[in-house]
C-alpha cells in the first residue's frame, strides 16, 4: 500500500507539470484542438492506407494472409528496436540525470516506489508515439479481418506488455551501463548505445533481407518463398509474440501459450529490473554524480573550424562555435547522428534493391515516378531531422538566454547563426542523399538537377520553419533535447513542413504532367522540356521563399519582443 501511495505521489509532480505546460499561455482548449487536428490528419491516413493495402493483400490466395501477418511482425520488430533505444536514453535521464533526483533521494521513499515511478515515466516518454501510431494500424487490421470493436481490448492486452518489456529491459540496461562505466560517462554510454543500435539494425537487415520478399524470383521455388513467409521474424522476440497473439485473435484463434509468454515476460523483466534496481541503484546513482574528466584542449579540428568561420565576423563565429561545441559535447544530441547515418545507408541500400534502374526490367518512366517518391521521402526525412535537431535550437538556449539578451547582439544575428548551424549540415546531408539515390536510380541529367535544386530549397525552407516554430513554442524547461520536438510546436512544424512538401510534390507533378503522361501506353516517350523543369523548380523555389522568409522574419520579431515576457 505504501508503495502504491508513494508511486502515485512521485508521479504527481510530473503529471501536473505536463498538464500545466500544456495549458500554458495559449490555453488548454487550443492544445486539445491542435492534438485532435493532428490526430484527425494522421490517423485516417494511416488507417485507410493500411486498410486498402491489407484488403489487397488478403485477396491474394495463400500468400496474402501470410504477408499481412509478416507485415505486422516486421512493423512491431522495428517498433521494438526504436522502443528499446529510446527507453535506454530516457532511462538515463529519468533514473540518473533528472534534476529532482537529489531531493527525492534525500527522502525516505521506498526503492521500489522510485523504480516503478521512474519506469512509468520512461515508458510513457519513450512509447507514446509508437502507441499512438499503433491505434490506427491495429484498427486497420481489425477492419481488414472483419472483427468487431471487442478487438480493441485484445489489442490493448497485446500492446501493453509489448511496451512494458522494452521499458523494463531498457531501464535495466541503463543501470548496468552506468555500473560498468566508472563515472559520469554518459558520453561513452550513449556512444555504446548508438553504435550497438547501428550494428543491430545492420544485422537485422542482413539477416532478414526484407527486399527479397518483394522479389520472389530470388527464391528457388514457391515452397521456399512460402516457407520464408511462414517463418517468424524471430521466435525469441516479444514483437513476434505480440504479432502472433494479435493475428491469432484476428483469425479467431486463441493461443494461450503466446499470451502467457507475453505477459509473464513483461512481469518477469519488470521484477528482475526491480531486483536489479534494489541491488545496484544506490551505487550507480552515486557513480553518476561523480565528475567526468572534462579537461578539453583546443584540438586542430576546433582550431580549423575557428579559422574557417573567421570571415563571418567575431560575433557570428563565436555564436556558431558555441552551438557546434555544445552539440558535439552533448551525447543526447550527437549519439542520434549514428542512428541517422545508418538510416541513410539503409535508405540508399533500399533504393539499390528496387528493380527500377535504367536499363533493367522497368522503363525510365517508372524511374521518374520513383524520383518523385524519392523527393517526398527525402523531404520527409529532412523534416524529421529538422524537427529533431533544428527545432530545439532556441529552446536549448533556455536559462542561458540572459547572456545573449544582455549582450550587444541583434536578434537577427542570433537567428542567422542558428539558421546556418542547422542549414549547412542538413542541406549537405540532403544533397548527398539526393545525389546518391539519383545516381543509383540512373536519373536523366535535367531531372537530376531539378531534384537537387528542389531538395536545396526544401532543406533551407525546413530549417527556417523549424527554427521559427522553435522560437514561438520554446521548451526552456525541458531536461532532454530529444523530447523537445515532441511538443506542440514540434508537431505544428511537422504539419507545416509536410504540408509544404506535399504541395511541392503535387505542383511538380502538375508542372511535369506532359512529360509524365508521355510515357503512358500509346504515346511517344520524350524527355522533359526545359520549360517544364523551370516551372517545377520555380514553384518549389516560390514555396520555399513563401514559407521560409516570413517564418524567419516572424521569429526575429518574436525574439525582439520576447523580452516583454
Amino acid at each position: 500500500m505504501k508503495v502504491v501511495r508513494e508511486f502515485l505521489l512521485l508521479l504527481g509532480p510530473k503529471w501536473r507539470s505536463t498538464r500545466r505546460r500544456g495549458a500554458g499561455a495559449r490555453g488548454r482548449a487550443g492544445r486539445v484542438l491542435l492534438l485532435l487536428g493532428v490526430g484527425a490528419a494522421a490517423w485516417p491516413f494511416v488507417y485507410f492506407t493500411l486498410v486498402r493495402f491489407l484488403h489487397a493483400l488478403r485477396g491474394v490466395e495463400d500468400v496474402g494472409p501470410l504477408l499481412a501477418a509478416r507485415l505486422l511482425a516486421l512493423g512491431l520488430l522495428i517498433f521494438l528496436g526504436i522502443l528499446l533505444l529510446s527507453n535506454v536514453i530516457a532511462a538515463l535521464s529519468s533514473f540518473f540525470l533528472a534534476r529532482d533526483l537529489p531531493a527525492i533521494r534525500s527522502t525516505p521513499v521506498d526503492g521500489l516506489s522510485l523504480y516503478l515511478a521512474r519506469l512509468s515515466e520512461t515508458l510513457v516518454s519513450s512509447s507514446w508515439m509508437v502507441a499512438l501510431l499503433l491505434v490506427p494500424a491495429l484498427a486497420a487490421y481489425g477492419r481488414a479481418y472483419g472483427v468487431g470493436p471487442g478487438f480493441a481490448l485484445v489489442a490493448i492486452a497485446g500492446v501493453v506488455p509489448f511496451l512494458v518489456i522494452p521499458a523494463a529491459v531498457g531501464g535495466a540496461l541503463t543501470l548496468l551501463l552506468v555500473r560498468v562505466f566508472p563515472a559520469r560517462r554518459s558520453r561513452d554510454i550513449l556512444a555504446v548505445i548508438g553504435l550497438g543500435s547501428a550494428a543491430l539494425l545492420v544485422l537485422v537487415l542482413r539477416v532478414l533481407r526484407p527486399e527479397r520478399l518483394v522479389n520472389p524470383e530470388s527464391y528457388r521455388n514457391l515452397v521456399d518463398f512460402l516457407e520464408a513467409l511462414r517463418g517468424p521474424t524471430s521466435t525469441w522476440l516479444p514483437s513476434q509474440w505480440t504479432a502472433d497473439a494479435l493475428i491469432g485473435a484476428l483469425e479467431g484463434r486463441f493461443d494461450p501459450l503466446t499470451w502467457l509468454l507475453l505477459w509473464t515476460t513483461a512481469a518477469g523483466v519488470t521484477t528482475l529490473g526491480a531486483m536489479l534496481h534494489q541491488r545496484l541503484y544506490a551505487i550507480c546513482f552515486t557513480r553518476a554524480q561523480e565528475g567526468d574528466e572534462n579537461r578539453l584542449t583546443r584540438t586542430a579540428g576546433w582550431k580549423g573550424l575557428e579559422w574557417f568561420l573567421t570571415p563571418l565576423g567575431i560575433r557570428r563565429r563565436e555564436l556558431i562555435l558555441k552551438d557546434v561545441r555544445s552539440f558535439f559535447r552533448d551525447p543526447t544530441q550527437w549519439s542520434q547522428l549514428i542512428i541517422l547515418a545508418v538510416l541513410v545507408v539503409v535508405y540508399v541500400y533500399n533504393m539499390r534493391a528496387l528493380p527500377v534502374r535504367a536499363g533493367t526490367t522497368i522503363s525510365g518512366y517508372l524511374t521518374t515516378l520513383v524520383l518523385f517518391l524519392n523527393l517526398a521521402l527525402t523531404g520527409f526525412v529532412l523534416a524529421a531531422i529538422a524537427a529533431r535537431f533544428v527545432f530545439p535550437a532556441f529552446s536549448l538556449e533556455g536559462r542561458t538566454l540572459w547572456l545573449l539578451r544582455s549582450s550587444p547582439v541583434p536578434a537577427s544575428e542570433i537567428l542567422a547563426s542558428k539558421f546556418w548551424t542547422g542549414a549547412v549540415p542538413l542541406t549537405g546531408m540532403a544533397l548527398m542523399l539526393t545525389i546518391m539515390t539519383n545516381f543509383v536510380l540512373g536519373v536523366p541529367r535535367a531531372l537530376f538537377l531539378l531534384s537537387l535544386g528542389s531538395i536545396l530549397c526544401l532543406s533551407l525552407a525546413f530549417t527556417a520553419q523549424a527554427l521559427a516554430w522553435g522560437v514561438f513554442y520554446p521548451e526552456f524547461e525541458s531536461e532532454n533535447a530529444a523530447q523537445i520536438p515532441t511538443s506542440v510546436g514540434g508537431l505544428l512544424f511537422m504539419l507545416g513542413a509536410l504540408g509544404s512538401l506535399g504541395f511541392v510534390v503535387v505542383a511538380q507533378g502538375w508542372a511535369l504532367r506532359g512529360y509524365l503522361t508521355s510515357g503512358l501506353p500509346g504515346r511517344a516517350p520524350r524527355l522533359a522540356t526545359l520549360e517544364e523543369i523551370g516551372l517545377a523548380f520555380g514553384i518549389t523555389l516560390g514555396v520555399a521563399l513563401l514559407t521560409g522568409v516570413p517564418a524567419m522574419k516572424a521569429a526575429e520579431q518574436r525574439i525582439r519582443i520576447g523580452a516583454r515576457d
Binding site: 563565436e318 542561458t400 538566454l401 519582443i561
Partner: protein, 254 residues
C-alpha cells in the same frame, strides 16, 4: 552612469515595478535592497535589456536601452541572480564567447581571460567543462564574463551567492577599485553587511516602489531612527516581522 526614469513593469495584473526613478553616477557603488518579491531582479533585468519595460526609460552610459540597445549593452556587464551558463563550454571558451559577443578577440583577449581566471583561482579549471564547476566557481566565472570586455557599468544581482569568504573579500575590493577608476556599479543584495560596508548609496524597494534612497544617513532619516544599523532601517522601512512573531513561528515548528 545608469539613469532610470519612471521605470514600470507589469506581469498581467501584477505591478512588479512601479515608476522607479534612480540616477547612479560614475565612480559610485549603488546597493538595491528589498524583501523577496520587491521587484529588484525585475528592475535589474530591465536595466540589462533582458526584459522590456512597460513604461519609463533606462539609459546606460547615456545610451537609451530602447532606442540604442546595442550601444547601451556594449558598455554593460551583467551578472544574474542564478549562474546559468553553457554547460558544455569550458571556462575559457565561455569567456571567449562572451567577449566575442562584444566583438573582441585576439591575443590580448587570451591574456585577459587568463588574468581573470587567475584572479579567481580558476586557472587550473580553464579547460574544464562548466558542468563540472561548483556553484561558487560558476559565480566567479560569470563575474569574469561580465568583466571580460571591460564594461563601464556593472549590474550584479546577488553578488555573493556561493562565494567563499576569500572570494567574497576579493569581490568587495575589486568592485571598490572598479568604482574608484570611474566605473558604475549597481548591486542587488540581501546581505545587509555587504551593502553597509560597500555601497556609497542605497535604495530600499518594497512592493515595486523605491521606499527610500540615498546615503545611510538619508535612510536613517527616512526610517526615523538615529544611529540604527542597516538591518533595523531595512525592517522599519519594509515593515519586516518583529522578533516576537519570529519566535512564535519557530515555536510552532519545534
Amino acid at each position: 552612469m545608469i539613469e532610470l526614469e519612471a521605470l514600470t513593469k507589469r506581469y498581467g495584473d501584477f505591478l512588479a515595478v512601479d515608476r522607479v526613478s534612480l540616477t547612479i553616477g560614475a565612480g559610485r557603488i549603488f546597493g538595491l535592497l528589498g524583501p523577496n518579491g520587491a521587484g529588484k531582479t525585475t528592475t535589474l533585468r530591465m536595466i540589462a535589456g533582458i526584459l522590456e519595460p512597460d513604461g519609463g526609460q533606462v539609459r546606460i552610459g547615456g545610451h537609451d536601452m530602447a532606442g540604442e540597445p546595442m550601444a547601451a549593452r556594449a558598455v554593460l556587464g551583467f551578472v544574474p541572480d542564478r549562474p546559468f551558463v553553457y554547460e558544455k563550454l569550458t571556462g575559457a571558451e565561455l569567456l571567449r564567447f562572451t567577449a566575442g559577443l562584444h566583438g573582441i578577440s585576439g591575443p590580448s583577449l587570451e591574456r585577459r581571460i587568463d588574468e581573470l581566471l587567475e584572479l579567481w583561482d580558476l586557472l587550473p579549471w580553464r579547460d574544464q567543462l562548466v558542468e563540472s564547476y561548483s556553484h561558487g566557481m560558476r559565480q566567479k566565472l560569470i563575474l569574469s564574463s561580465a568583466l571580460v570586455h571591460g564594461p563601464d557599468v556593472l549590474v550584479i544581482d546577488e553578488p555573493m551567492v556561493g562565494l567563499d569568504p576569500r572570494s567574497a573579500r576579493l569581490l568587495k575590493s575589486l568592485l571598490r577599485t572598479y568604482a574608484d577608476r570611474g566605473g558604475t556599479v549597481l548591486v542587488s543584495t540581501h546581505t545587509l553587511e555587504l551593502a553597509e560596508v560597500l555601497c556609497d548609496e542605497l535604495a530600499v524597494m518594497d512592493r515595486g516602489r523605491v521606499a527610500a534612497s540615498g546615503s545611510l544617513t538619508d535612510l536613517r532619516r527616512a526610517a526615523e531612527t538615529k544611529d540604527a544599523g542597516l538591518e533595523e532601517i531595512f525592517l522599519k522601512i519594509t515593515r519586516g516581522a518583529a522578533d516576537s512573531e519570529i519566535t512564535a513561528v519557530l515555536g510552532n515548528l519545534a
